[in-house]
Symmetry: D2
Subunit: 309 residues, 4 copies
Amino acid sequence: MVELDGIIQDIAAEMAARTDRGQVATYIPELARVDPAAFGIALVDAEGQVCAAGDSDKPFSIQSISKVFTLTLALGKIGDGLWRRVGREPSGNAFNSIVQLEYEKGIPRNPFINAGAIAVADTILSGHKPNVALGEILRFLQFVSDDETIYIDHAVARSEQTTGFRNAALANYMKAFGILENPVELALGVYFHHCAIAMSCRQLAMAGRYLAFSGRHPTTGARVVSADRAKRINALMLTCGHYDGSGDFAFRVGLPGKSGVGGGILAIVPGKASICVWSPGLDPQGNSRLGSIALELLAKRMRWSIFGD
Amino acid sequence: MVELDGIIQDIAAEMAARTDRGQVATYIPELARVDPAAFGIALVDAEGQVCAAGDSDKPFSIQSISKVFTLTLALGKIGDGLWRRVGREPSGNAFNSIVQLEYEKGIPRNPFINAGAIAVADTILSGHKPNVALGEILRFLQFVSDDETIYIDHAVARSEQTTGFRNAALANYMKAFGILENPVELALGVYFHHCAIAMSCRQLAMAGRYLAFSGRHPTTGARVVSADRAKRINALMLTCGHYDGSGDFAFRVGLPGKSGVGGGILAIVPGKASICVWSPGLDPQGNSRLGSIALELLAKRMRWSIFGD
Amino acid sequence: MVELDGIIQDIAAEMAARTDRGQVATYIPELARVDPAAFGIALVDAEGQVCAAGDSDKPFSIQSISKVFTLTLALGKIGDGLWRRVGREPSGNAFNSIVQLEYEKGIPRNPFINAGAIAVADTILSGHKPNVALGEILRFLQFVSDDETIYIDHAVARSEQTTGFRNAALANYMKAFGILENPVELALGVYFHHCAIAMSCRQLAMAGRYLAFSGRHPTTGARVVSADRAKRINALMLTCGHYDGSGDFAFRVGLPGKSGVGGGILAIVPGKASICVWSPGLDPQGNSRLGSIALELLAKRMRWSIFGD
Amino acid sequence: MVELDGIIQDIAAEMAARTDRGQVATYIPELARVDPAAFGIALVDAEGQVCAAGDSDKPFSIQSISKVFTLTLALGKIGDGLWRRVGREPSGNAFNSIVQLEYEKGIPRNPFINAGAIAVADTILSGHKPNVALGEILRFLQFVSDDETIYIDHAVARSEQTTGFRNAALANYMKAFGILENPVELALGVYFHHCAIAMSCRQLAMAGRYLAFSGRHPTTGARVVSADRAKRINALMLTCGHYDGSGDFAFRVGLPGKSGVGGGILAIVPGKASICVWSPGLDPQGNSRLGSIALELLAKRMRWSIFGD
């Protein structure tokens, strides 16, 4: 752990010095205000010990990282029936593409593209009021991260809601094919708000523990999901977690991961660690530029790639 | 190893009894003649020991599994320069789709879809005669499998060549964009012939050892590729190895793998084993139906998924 | 005119006897209730004389035929500036396809596919309340058809509004690209309501006179649009008026025409006649089956094809 | 005719003075050598009189204009059976797009996109040697233009053949779907050579007479095709004759027309005239820039639009 902590500090220092930080997302006004110089990293190991460096306690907008947790909840609700409404193949398209929906009868390719995540939000909603569904999502995140301070940033949610016409197009399109069961506005409301949850690297690394450790909290042993489900969510993160940059992330980093346009990436080392990095500048595929590089360095030094050492 | 051998025998017996064997590929006349009841499995572990069951010594047409080895050779020739001509993202389309090429200027999405493998064959050709390139490919396979009896089935190659108009379309399309350097017929000739190589499960499991064991022969220690390159090829197999069924294979089996329409699948357990299964009946995505099921059972019983145990 | 009247009566009799009437549209509940045996035809010539037969005075839902008149109004408002927001090429896709919008930055291919017509409705709206825009559209139709009884069928409009998710997807998608200026719901409201206007064959034939007669009322000489604009609207009807059956209609009938899923077709014989036929059964492209056949017969007997006699 | 001759001279003079001449096609080396300052126009009226101006007797590469004549021949051979192999809808895509073929099982949208014209060439070939088919095409052109000097420019044909990989991709793709009956190379050979026919404006205007005058030679009365077939070919020219600029040409000019990348346009005024213009500079859709403008002026001054005067 001493060695690991040194590596984490080294990487954070190296990232702080880099100038090629990518572009901060600007399509949501609230996101555009974030400091591009921020960098944070946190890691929880099998003993429950945390290593952290940089801005690891500063909350940021988790955006699409939330999709990992809503997927977990939706699978808990309706199990494998979910796969009748959402596929599990890489999309080969940008995260907000509508083309695939037209060619495949409104069924989104996977739960991590926007359309898929809206269908997942619709599943969690299942006839309840949006606030009930959002309460459930928030409580789940507070539970898996052992932290009751996690909150929804309503300014970000409003910001998305007023500009989210592409997502509204996706939702209406799926509704036309009968994929959504609830009113479009309600499913979108849940989606926009869970994307607007604010968390720090430390909180996200804690939240990801059940994926790294066979579905359980490593320290208390409390079961969150079955070991089999944890594996399968990891597989989806590996194949679909970085939009049309998923192949490149698997190639370079070799870990299941899920990125968000807020600049965060949650990465899982099965059996060994749950990691979160954050740096707001994005690469052209919409994934954190320094976040990917930091994870590549870390996986290499620790020989953590799931594809061999 | 005793336990593992028992599991392999159990699985072979279970597969022999199943009646839902999928459809044997018929688009190449030579492939349509294969016995649909065949099933073979072979596995090499870190000590170099082989477990095998069923038709594990019967040669079959390796078809797209050959793309793993031509990719290895092409990377050996021109290194990461290959990625200027071929992408490494999942395609989200069928293996022979041409749509993606039109939208992305003739650059195939990854080296495992047909277009990508033709571009890889063109790289190996690099101005030489097809026979020279094919000799190189064959010798490489003989070397990595420690078996000089491996051969090209020329009847299969001719069979493909006379019906391979879609591949000719892909090759001409890439040529129009300057992606191929050699004459179209020559690149296609190399491609059709390396797909027509015949190997048994045992030979393929032996051939895959360098991917399972950090780029080396596990027994002699001879280096085939760098550890880093082996990892990266495994990552490509995981994300792109089963066409538009890649996500499903990762979800259910959780191992890097590459399938061929001859019914074979090569699967890699990093650090632990190289496996080949063969059953000629295919699922709608073109992957061996019983082969996938056998690997799912094996990975589950051995807790070999790279996504957690 | 006596001869023409006889031909009209003959055609109506022949159509009444046919049993291959196509399928009545069912996606809007209100449309599904229409009598599939209905058939009407009406024609106005250069002297202003009307020939009619069958159910020529029965109002039906004009649906997409309304797009000809909203296009006329929008061109009157902003002239050729409209072509910065809407193209004028055939789409090569179904009327409600969203794929083309993604590939062409939200600009609909032409004003007669749904997306294009919603953009046209948005232009007419231009900051006013939907009722103002709808009043304008209704008054224009009453003016060009010399008939103040024309009305909006609000039951049909409501019926569309509750099921029109694909149109909502198109509208939100265009809004995301900045093509729509007004709130999505308002533009959609205008669109759904103008499609729900009810008119008879006689009223529509009267309404189309300005397109047949160089932009003027043939009897009073009152100018509706310039001769040049009338020609150009006719050209758009010829190339884009029947969705992905436009080429076939031009090939068989040889007249500019615009169909609606209510089963009506407005057809223009430049300099000679304005015609409307109605039969609710549709062909697979969504155009009135008997309506097209009746027009093909009429154009042939009268040697009215614009492509030669 | 005196007035018309004056208009033709005026337009030629006006075109000679313009500097915005578009870009000469460069993808075929032989075409790139043409003088961008060339402009020719010729017109034959119902009495068989010819008006001409500019470079009206200078042969140029007719390229896609040849597709009008091969379509006529193929319809003569197999009649409406042709429409089982080729559609007649506008494509909504560029002339050499392969995407549409994949989505529609290898059936090209219409006979004027490259894929469609290759299928038409294959029909004319029908088991014969390419030279026989080419002889037939050439004799047909010599017959309809009353001019035995028309020839194939073999330097242009060779130039296309060595660079025509996209067309080879289209042909192989159709062959894979069983749309082509002859060997791919032979169908392509016929296609490349008929595109390489050289004709002057005067010769092409003469050749188009049968389309303008109900299928007959206007002076001798000799029937070339039925009146009905002439009309239908005109309809196809109107809807599909200018690739994805067809809608715009109909909108601005209002005449059936067929363009070629050599800079020629054949335009038909049913019952009144057959016209050919030539200016090598192209607009972004691949249609002659000054050619379209000259036809727009001529149609306007003569009130020749088929959509009204």
